[in-house]
């Protein structure tokens, strides 16, 4: 042992890194490879081949986790920038163009900060509460249909699952508030619990009318049911339901004007007061993921999901043209396009560079070429995108879905920039005295209408 120790001591730092790596690569690598190729691989392949659902599930979870982080970053940046603009400020403008990487850097900052646990706090609960909050937020992504076929799991009880998982986040908030050993946190957690539990009821009831109309709980089916013109969207059949859902969802996500749980001018930061570092980051992320989820839900349920507001095919039919149909199958194209891909960029770059070169005589040729190349990329990406939009229905659906969702995210941010906060008793009174009766009324009217129409 001493020999090994002494030899290890003689190694330089680089050697200390390389030798274990070599050991890993040379010894462990082949063993793992052989094991995988002979034992695990075939077994796994058989298993997955027999159950494609599992593949789909794993891919969906991976996709959802990967999607939630950039979505949160984009919303954070959007919130900073939009509220700043509404306040006649510029907002973040130092990191990246127009401060675009600001939230990314803020995320890094959160990662590097000290993770602090206050004295007297319940360590385990304090640590796991943010994880619970974040997890529930991310889990709701699973059933949201981003486009035709672009859905993690097409559950037939998707809506039920959504409300169930969404309601679980309050447990995390309550735990966070309780475990922090801070009265502001406790008040914030209790406020969150009271608020979310109260608003759960009108939130759920407001959708029941829609479920009666659609006849299904699957979000995918609800989305499909709204195809066609924008008049087919459920918001026009359920305006009251949409309004109630909008308000209740705002409260559910703890957004202004219902951000009682983290009312910074009253209870400092509510349940997040004692959190720092990445645990605070989780709470923070969950909040913004929630914003995206309620926007996505609003779009899915009431604003036509992935459907475009205008049915282009019907317009074309009216004019007398046949519907455009492009089938995109890259595999069937053969070798020819590969040569094209070699030639076309060069030629087009040169062609696009000519006007830049001619426009100003002092401009050196390489600058004109760079500009031409950039222009070419722009045009190419645009054309490809157009092709994809026409050719792949999921691409068109995704575009519309994301566009509409971020429009609603903008609305939530806009509201945050404008409104003061309501008081806790007004908040509860509003839920029980106004929203709940209105949701019930909506339900009864819808049910009655369905019976009358059917009979």
């Amino acid at each position: 042992m001493t020999t090994v120790n002494r030899a290890w001591g003689h190694l330089s730092l680089r050697g200390k890194v390389i030798i274990p790596l070599l050991f890993l690569v040379l010894i462990v690598g082949p063993i793992v490879t052989i094991l995988f190729a002979n034992v695990v691989g075939p077994w796994l392949a058989d298993l997955l081949g027999a159950n494609p659902q599992i593949v789909r599930f794993v891919v969906a979870i991976g996709g959802v986790l990967l999607f939630s982080i950039p979505a949160a970053f984009i919303i954070i940046y959007m919130e900073l920038k939009v509220i700043a603009f509404m306040n006649l400020r510029i907002g973040p403008d130092r990191v990246g163009p127009k401060g675009a990487f600001h939230s990314l850097v803020a995320g890094l900052k959160v990662l590097t900060k000290e993770d602090f646990t206050p004295t007297g706090a319940d360590h385990i609960v304090f640590t796991w509460a943010p994880v619970l909050v974040f997890l529930t937020a991310v889990m709701t992504f699973l059933v949201i249909p981003f486009g035709p076929g672009l859905v993690g799991q097409d559950l037939n009880i998707g809506l039920l699952y959504l409300f169930a998982v969404g309601g679980m986040s309050v447990v995390g908030l309550l735990l966070a508030g309780w475990a922090s050993f801070n009265k502001y946190s406790l008040l914030g957690g209790l406020r969150a619990a009271a608020q979310v539990v109260s608003y759960e009821i009108p939130l759920t009831l407001s959708v029941v009318g829609l479920i009666l109309l659609a006849g299904t709980l699957s979000l995918n089916r609800i989305a499909e049911a709204q195809a066609g013109w924008f008049t087919d969207w459920y918001v026009f059949r359920q305006p009251l339901g949409a309004l109630i859902f909008f308000i209740a969802a705002t409260a559910e996500a703890n957004r202004t004007p219902f951000d009682m749980a983290e009312a910074d001018s009253e209870i400092v930061a509510g349940f997040a007061t004692e959190y720092s570092g990445m645990r605070f980051g989780f709470l923070f992320f969950a909040e913004y993921v929630n914003v995206f989820i309620i926007s996505a839900l609003l779009v899915t349920l009431f604003f036509g999901a992935w459907n475009a507001p205008v049915d282009i095919n019907s317009i074309l039919a009216l004019v007398g043209l046949s519907p455009i149909a492009v089938t995109l199958d890259p595999a069937s194209l053969g070798v020819g396009p590969l040569f094209l891909m070699l030639v076309v960029p060069v030629v087009l770059t040169v062609i696009f560079a000519v006007p830049f070169y001619l426009a100003r005589s002092t401009r050196p040729a390489w600058q004109a070429l760079v500009l031409g190349f950039l222009l070419f990329i722009l045009v190419a990406v645009g054309l490809l995108f157009l092709l994809a939009y026409i050719g792949w229905p999921w691409m068109a659906g995704l575009v519309w879905f994301m566009g509409k969702s971020f429009l609603f995210v903008y609305v939530f941010v806009w509201m945050r920039g404008t409104f003061p906060r309501v008081r806790i008793d007004q908040l509860m009174g509003f839920a029980w005295k106004w929203l709940l009766p209105a949701a019930l009324l909506n339900l009864f009217v819808t049910a009655a209408a369905i019976i009358i129409v059917k009979s």
Binding site: V82, M86, R89, I90, D93, W414
Partner: protein, 221 residues
């Protein structure tokens, strides 16, 4: 609040949306600098002339005017005789102590000036009373003091400063500006309290100058 519920909220949101598209008020410091008013007085600095020497004339006015005593000044006067200083009493112990002790009703000796001879201040009190303790009549007060004592004892100047409230530096400035006022007894070359060396050199210069010009020494006109 209007009668239609929600109309106020909608108006508020329309206002913020309008602001969203308006030009922004941010000044992107440090790329852009805000305009400073011409009268802005934000920073103290000593100015230098083109030869790199200080422009400060040591008039003490800035130190006198500074309410929080962040400016202090000290030095020996041009003839090397007296310490003239202004500034926080931690540094010099000139005035603040008196003020505090005066309030507590106790007379106080000033350790800085203990080695100066003490003079009988009864005559000086009479002079001050005749002038109604008015610092505007400082020249007359000093002249009469000189008439009474034959010169201006430091203790008398300190007393004048304390009674009239005029800054000692101001009185000292007045006393040294007028050439007919003197701070030493007329024939007291041996009793110079401080700056002996400088005085000796200076006296040498002056006698040489007088000899060259044919003047009679020690008689300012």
């Amino acid at each position: 609040m209007s009668f239609i519920p929600g109309i106020g909220l909608v108006r508020g949101m329309s206002l913020t949306l309008r602001r969203f598209f308006q030009p922004k008020a941010t000044i992107r410091w440090p790329e852009e600098k805000a305009d400073v008013a011409p009268k802005f007085r934000g920073r103290l600095q000593l100015l230098y002339d083109e030869y790199g020497t200080l422009k400060c004339e040591t008039c003490f006015q800035c130190a006198q005017a500074c309410p929080i005593e962040c400016i202090d000044m000290g030095g020996i006067d041009t003839k090397g005789r007296f310490h003239v200083h202004w500034g926080p009493p931690e540094t010099y112990g000139e005035r603040r102590e008196e003020s505090a002790l005066r309030r507590s009703g106790r007379p106080v000796a000033d350790p800085m000036y203990e080695h100066y001879e003490s003079v009988d201040l009864v005559a000086l009190d009479g002079i001050l009373e005749a002038h109604d303790f008015d610092p505007k009549d400082m020249l007359a007060i000093l002249e009469e003091t000189q008439a009474a004592y034959g010169y201006l004892p430091v203790a008398a100047l300190k007393h004048i400063s304390r009674i009239t409230g005029a800054w000692y530096a101001t009185i000292y400035g007045t006393a040294t500006y007028y050439r007919h006022l003197r701070l030493e007894p007329p024939a007291a070359d041996t009793a110079a309290p401080a700056g002996e060396a400088q005085r000796g050199i200076e006296a040498g210069y002056r006698s040489a100058l007088d000899a060259a010009l044919g003047h009679v020494s020690g008689c300012p006109s």
